[in-house]
């Protein structure tokens, strides 16, 4: 009798703790409220796979430009490239600065936009979400009420169809341009890319993020990355301009300048 009571009490306490941990913000219609400014931490943007710290490519930047190590965010640790694609990835890595589209301030695509070292903001309406990213002012409109529709045209940030699975926001992203990459180490995809993202609140200030990446021309099977996203709690936090087009004009057009 006594033992049973203890077990029940422990159960109540545990349940209480769990409920407190998963208290999340909700909209008036009871859905999770994802409004706010979020950002990934860590070094997935450098390399999704496990990687050691390394010197950066710009000598003058010294320690400030060095690349931090990372435990990796790929389930199973390794991206399952086809043999041919693995060669391409190695070449991308060897010619990183020449080939990485983000060096040129191109729109980052999905999922790379999510884990760049820049904040992004979710603006959540019942039928439409806007995800707006500081990097290059990239935007995605997520349609919550058109299941089964298809992209009418390819775009850098894709065609985004959202739905709720319990408290998880699921977004299927198709119609992305083949030119985007997945990180700064040459991980890439082809025109057949499909991304399924899952955003699950794990408290008021944490979103657990997962993305399943499918592209049969490049990968032998679908594979998954996961990481937490954190709410930016800075006072009066807001996104600021990062209109990087202006910062890459010398890089892209300097060779066409009139000789002085």
């Amino acid at each position: 009798m006594k033992l049973v009571a203890w077990i029940s009490l422990a159960g109540i306490l545990l349940a209480g703790t769990a409920a407190a941990q998963t208290k999340i913000a909700r909209t008036p219609d009871g859905k999770p409220d994802l409004n706010g400014i979020w950002q990934a931490m860590g070094s997935a943007h450098w390399n999704l796979e496990p990687h050691n710290a390394a010197a950066g490519p710009v000598i003058e930047m010294g320690a400030l430009g060095a690349i931090p190590g990372g435990l990796g965010v790929v389930e199973g640790g390794r991206i399952p490239y086809t043999p041919e694609a693995a060669k391409q990835r190695a070449e991308n890595n060897a010619k990183w600065l020449e080939l990485d589209p983000l060096v040129k301030c191109y729109l980052p695509g999905v999922p790379r936009a999510t884990y760049l070292p820049h904040p992004f903001q979710i603006v959540q309406e019942p039928n439409t979400l806007l995800m707006t990213y500081e990097f290059a002012g990239a935007d995605r409109i997520v349609y919550m009420n058109r299941p089964g529709s298809a992209a009418q045209v390819d775009s850098w940030m894709g065609y985004n169809l959202g739905r709720w699975e319990g408290d998880t926001l699921v977004i299927d992203v198709t119609g992305q341009m083949p030119e985007t990459w997945l990180d700064s180490s040459g991980n890439f995809h082809g025109p057949g890319l499909k991304v399924q993202e899952r955003y699950t609140p794990a408290g008021i200030n944490i979103l657990m993020y997962e993305a399943t990446i499918t592209d049969a021309d490049v990968f032998t099977r679908p594979w998954k990355i996961s990481m937490p996203l954190y709410r930016r709690l800075d006072r009066n936090m807001q996104l600021l301009d990062f209109k990087c087009v202006e910062f890459v004009e010398e890089l892209l057009y300097g060779k066409y300048r009139k000789a002085q």
Binding site: D241, Y253, Y256
Partner: protein, 343 residues
């Protein structure tokens, strides 16, 4: 490009006024906007701010503020007929010699359904006030380069072709040619999507995918040393009108059109849902450094069918490379002609 074209087309036609689909009459019954889940007037959706009403009132209308519906219909037909004539001809016009901008692009006829003789409603003469003495006014355009000085703050055309900084902001994919802020009608792509939550509004213009995020929570302005290409906006509800005040513009854009810089610009925009498919967009430019008086324009926006699409300008900006490399080739050719060896 199209701002200039629009001005050109309307100037060529002498007048330009929308057809009267939703004529402005004394309202019999006050329209009450539907509410969002947080109780705000619902401005959500994709809106088209295109219009064939001239921005400033053509001289012939003097102090007349409104046309009759019959006059509006006649003028609208003239615009369409003239446009069709251009289409049926060999396509070239002085400002668009290749005829590249044919009917396919035109998306402004009568969108706003407006009987006004100008979009400017204040000053009452429908004309922009004079700029302050000594203020630089440079409009750029599709014609020859202006040979002006850097920084180039206008959007279309350029001053020279020596480097990217000699070109207008829209050729560099930095700012859309008509997307403001404030946004003003041009030939096409007059598309904006408004998002709303309890604490924020977002004004997303299709041109250059610029999302202007407007906190509605009464927070303080950002530090005056911070400047933003589209300014820094704060919003509030005044009755059923969303009022957005924007400051902290850079000195890299003009105050309005070709005049001055945005540094001291104080922009006030008012968004009011006035019908199931219409939002009135009113903006006031208050910039005593650039203009001798504030002025206000009213642009009716109609609900757009379809989505706002991604306008990825920079990613495909072959134009800027070609303009600059073409100019270098011209220089080499000219040098070769003179018997010099190219540098």
């Amino acid at each position: 490009m199209r701002t200039v074209l629009a001005i050109g087309v309307i100037a060529a036609l002498g007048v330009g006024v929308a057809q009267a689909a939703e004529p402005a009459k004394p309202a019999a019954k006050k329209y009450v906007a539907p509410r969002t889940e947080s109780g705000q007037p619902d401005l959500r959706g994709v809106w088209n701010y295109g219009s064939d009403t001239p921005f400033e009132r053509p001289a012939q209308f003097k102090d007349r503020e409104f046309l009759t519906p019959e006059e509006a219909a006649t003028i609208s037909k003239q615009i369409r007929d003239r446009s069709a004539q251009i289409e049926a001809g060999d396509g070239g016009t002085p400002i668009d010699p290749t005829g590249g901008y044919n009917q396919f692009w035109m998306d402004y006829f009568g969108q706003g359904a407006n009987l006004r003789t100008s979009l400017v409603i204040d000053p009452p003469d429908g004309r922009l006030p004079p700029v302050q003495p000594g203020v630089k006014v440079e409009n750029g355009g599709l014609g020859p380069d202006t040979n002006g000085v850097r920084p180039v703050r206008f959007r279309v055309g350029g001053v020279r072709k020596d480097g990217p900084e000699d070109r207008g902001l829209s050729e560099r994919c930095l700012m859309g040619y008509s997307s403001g802020p404030p946004f003003v009608p041009s030939l096409y792509n007059n598309i904006v999507q408004i998002f709303q939550t309890r604490t924020h509004a977002v004004i997303l213009t299709e041109m250059i995918h610029d999302a202007r995020i407007v906190p509605l929570d009464g927070r303080a302005a950002i530090d005056p040393r911070l400047t933003q290409w589209s300014g820094d906006s704060r919003g509030r509800w005044e009755g059923d009108t969303l009022v957005v005040e924007t400051r902290n513009f850079t000195d890299k854009t003009t105050s309005f059109r070709g005049a001055g810089t945005g540094q001291d610009l104080h922009l006030t925009e008012r968004f009011t849902r006035v019908g199931p498919n219409r939002v009135d967009y009113q903006f006031t430019i208050d910039d005593p450094t650039t203009y001798t008086k504030p002025f206000t324009a009213l642009i009716p926006m109609v609900r757009a069918e379809g989505d706002l699409y991604e306008y990825a300008c920079h990613e495909g900006n072959y134009g800027l490379s070609n303009i600059l490399s073409g100019a270098r080739q011209d220089e080499r050719d000219a040098a070769a002609k003179q018997g010099d060896s190219p540098k």
